[in-house]
Symmetry: C2
């Protein structure tokens, strides 16, 4: 999969991003709903904060699960949560139901991000469309490695490899293996499952309907990728 960046260079890629940003701002403003405009503008702020926080914590082995979860919220879940809440705003439902739709989107988004981070460890380069373990190689420490670092059997060796930032031949493959061995993938899968269940629970306030069934299937679809 080629990126605009790799085909046309950074300058055109940045302009293309600005163009999309501008189009989005325009369509957003023309929804004519201040509550929704505020929701989505918060997403844009969250997204920028998430990218900056991710860039400034590369190879930080002290990263906690809570910090990982915050970053995942900023870069992925905030958009889905605000979008779900926005749909509720346009439907004119009660504020409890708006909160529930926000919670659904948030936990669906967190599940999605955890699944995506697991796939970085388990899928082949061909399936991913990018090198296996690329997130890890660039120092972005996600759920599987955070969990593995809690396991005394693999912790020391993982820390050694991370502190060398994978300069040694084969060290990335070794780290991927240690994460598996240390139970990092199993623990991350359980976390994704738990987020998915929290998302489903938020749908309790909706009466049965094809729309509700679609929202439930979305959770199943997201989790399905790791099994």
């Amino acid at each position: 999969k080629k990126t605009i960046n790799s085909i046309y260079g950074t300058r055109v890629a940045v302009l293309a991003g600005d163009f999309l940003f501008a189009q989005s701002s325009w369509f957003l403003a023309n929804l004519d709903n201040l509550e929704v405009i505020k929701l989505i503008s918060q997403v844009i702020a969250d997204f920028a904060n998430g990218e900056i926080s991710q860039a400034s914590s590369l190879f930080d082995t002290d990263v906690t699960l809570e910090q990982y979860s915050d970053k995942s919220f900023y870069k992925t879940a905030s958009l889905i949560a605000a979008s779900c809440r926005s749909a509720a705003v346009f439907s004119g439902v009660s504020s409890d139901m708006k909160e529930a739709m926000y919670a659904y989107g948030k936990h669906l988004g967190l599940a999605f991000q955890i699944v995506d981070d697991i796939l970085d460890f388990t899928q082949s380069a061909e399936q991913l469309g990018k090198p296996q373990g690329q997130d890890l190689a660039s120092g972005n420490l996600t759920a599987p490695i955070i969990y593995a670092l809690r396991n005394p059997l693999v912790k020391e060796e993982l820390l050694d490899i991370l502190s060398s930032e994978f300069v040694e031949e084969g060290s990335l493959e070794r780290a991927l293996h240690l994460v598996q061995l240390g139970g990092g993938l199993d623990a991350a899968r359980a976390l994704a499952q738990q987020e998915g269940e929290t998302a489903l629970a938020a749908l309790a306030c909706l009466s049965e309907s094809p729309a509700k069934r679609s929202l439930q299937q979305m959770v199943e679809y997201v989790l399905h990728r790791i099994y």
Copy 2:
């Protein structure tokens, strides 16, 4: 003058831009005025269009004064015009007066951009904080060169130099000299002056006040830089 790009690299510069964009979206949404949100979101769209149109017309010697003016509107004047109109919106004035404030900002912005383009030809590298003729060197053809290309005395040599994209030693300096010789700078100054006068004329609907005087002085301040 150092740029974020030169100190921290492209990645951080793009993130910093996203951060500022996000902050602006947030503050804009919290002005709680849909009319103003739409005005400014149009600016963002105009700005992206202007950058893309500039990037795609480099070294295009067929560029007309009208295309130049459109680009200047997109990349500079649109923001000033929409900001002036937004202030009028918050003041709750008539729609005629909102139009007049938009026209003031638009022509002030065009004057500012023409002046800026003239300075690229006339100021030293030290005054500009970037190399003299940098716009021209990168193929961005602005008012002074568009006017000079209309003068048969310098046209052919200028076209030759532009078609070679300044590979030849000293050709940029020669082009700067030919633009001066061909009357390009004088004609561009007259255009800036004319835009400034159009901006001032738009203020006729305001009664005399210190605020009106400040708006008039802003035009004088912008034009002052080329004399």
